[in-house]
């Protein structure tokens, strides 16, 4: 049994809903081996091209910059949820 649910169906639903053409997927280190399965499933079930973020994903505070310049419509980030930034700490 897989330890964590990747919930690809939710990703596919969102991609279809917004008609995303190019999607970037971002995974924390422990889930990076799932990238193949996610990319294969998303590309099979939607018309979107999947790009895989190579670098860090320390938390929801750690979003890649500049994706819009490459025409990426949607970033899907696994293993985190909405982060409320606080100024100062």
């Amino acid at each position: 049994m897989r330890l964590y649910s990747v919930e690809v169906e939710k990703a596919v639903e969102r991609i279809r809903k917004i008609g995303a053409k190019t999607v970037c997927i971002q995974l924390p280190d422990g889930m990076k081996p799932y990238a193949k399965e996610i990319a294969d499933a998303v590309e099979m079930e939607t018309k979107a091209r999947v790009l895989i973020w190579l670098g860090s994903n320390f938390g929801a505070c750690d979003m890649p910059l500049g994706l819009n310049k490459m025409g990426i419509d949607l970033l899907i980030s696994w293993g985190h949820n909405v982060f409320h930034k606080k100024e100062g700490w």
């Binding site: 649910s5 320390f58 979003m63 419509d73 696994w78 949820n81 982060f83 409320h84 100062g88 700490w89």
Partner: protein, 256 residues
């Protein structure tokens, strides 16, 4: 700013989230009556069985929604300073539900300025076992950190590290340091992910202040030849160093 649509998927744990036998035995043996219950995002939405078991054991579970989280009871690795959890109630210990050491260590670091440290009981639903965390897990790092803080106090030339990541960028709060310490010369360095291998090229810096992820000051302490402290401790250096706290009464350092 990130201007593309962003979707988060929690990746919840697929198995059953329960207290292990040794966790239950320990909580009972210690006669704990009130625990601060926290979990990482993979487990936090599935704590019903844990809460029910605690209730059966006569143990009250209290929790809070930490500053930067979206869900009550969720623990982030950056909840590592005293007031970020916003926990109002007094507790006998913390009970962390999840795997790994990264998240529960935040609860240990978060108590460094307290007079006494509450134990962290870590219940791992995957391995079905319990581990304990406390001052012994961080005392060697805190010794170095304390040395860096004392060095900051006397340093004239300080490097401030600011990240461009929107979720972590803290340039404006970093500038407060210049007002607080007019006798020091601060140089501000900008990066995406902190390039530890570049630090020594700037050999005129006496000590570094981290304003990116608050865990960098602790977890990456050994990567800074000249020492590093976190922004919040830099702003309150004198107060932090003069408190009657765990931080100022550390047990003897041991080799790891």
């Amino acid at each position: 700013m990130v201007t593309v649509d962003v979707m988060f998927l929690d990746a919840p744990y697929s198995g059953s989230v329960e207290l292990s036998k040794d966790t239950i035995r320990y909580l009972q043996d210690q006669k704990f009556k009130r625990v601060g219950l926290y979990a990482s995002v993979q487990f936090v939405n599935n704590l019903e069985r844990v809460e029910k078991r605690l209730e059966e054991l006569g143990i009250a579970a209290v929790t809070s929604r930490a500053d930067r989280t979206h869900v009550k009871g969720q623990l982030l690795g950056c909840d590592n300073y005293h007031d970020s959890l916003r926990l109002e109630e007094d507790i006998d210990c913390y009970l962390y539900i999840g795997d790994g050491r990264f998240h529960p260590l935040a609860l240990v670091y978060g108590q460094k300025d307290s007079t006494k440290m509450k134990e962290i009981v870590c219940n791992d639903p995957i391995q079905k076992k319990m581990t304990l965390m406390g001052i012994d897990d961080i005392k060697n790092i805190l010794k170095k950190y304390r040395g860096s803080l004392m060095k900051f106090f006397t340093s004239k030339t300080v490097g401030i590290l600011v990240t461009i990541k929107p979720g972590q960028e803290q340039l404006r709060p970093a500038l407060e340091l210049e007002k607080k310490y007019p006798d020091k010369r601060f140089y501000i360095f900008v990066d995406n992910v902190i390039s530890f291998d570049q630090l020594e090229n700037f050999n005129f810096i006496d000590v570094w202040v981290n304003t990116a992820c608050p865990r960098v000051g602790f977890d990456d302490q050994e990567k800074f030849m000249r020492g590093v402290i976190n922004l919040n401790d830099a702003l309150l250096a004198q107060e932090v160093l003069s408190k009657d706290s765990v931080f100022n009464n550390l047990p003897s350092a041991t080799r790891r």
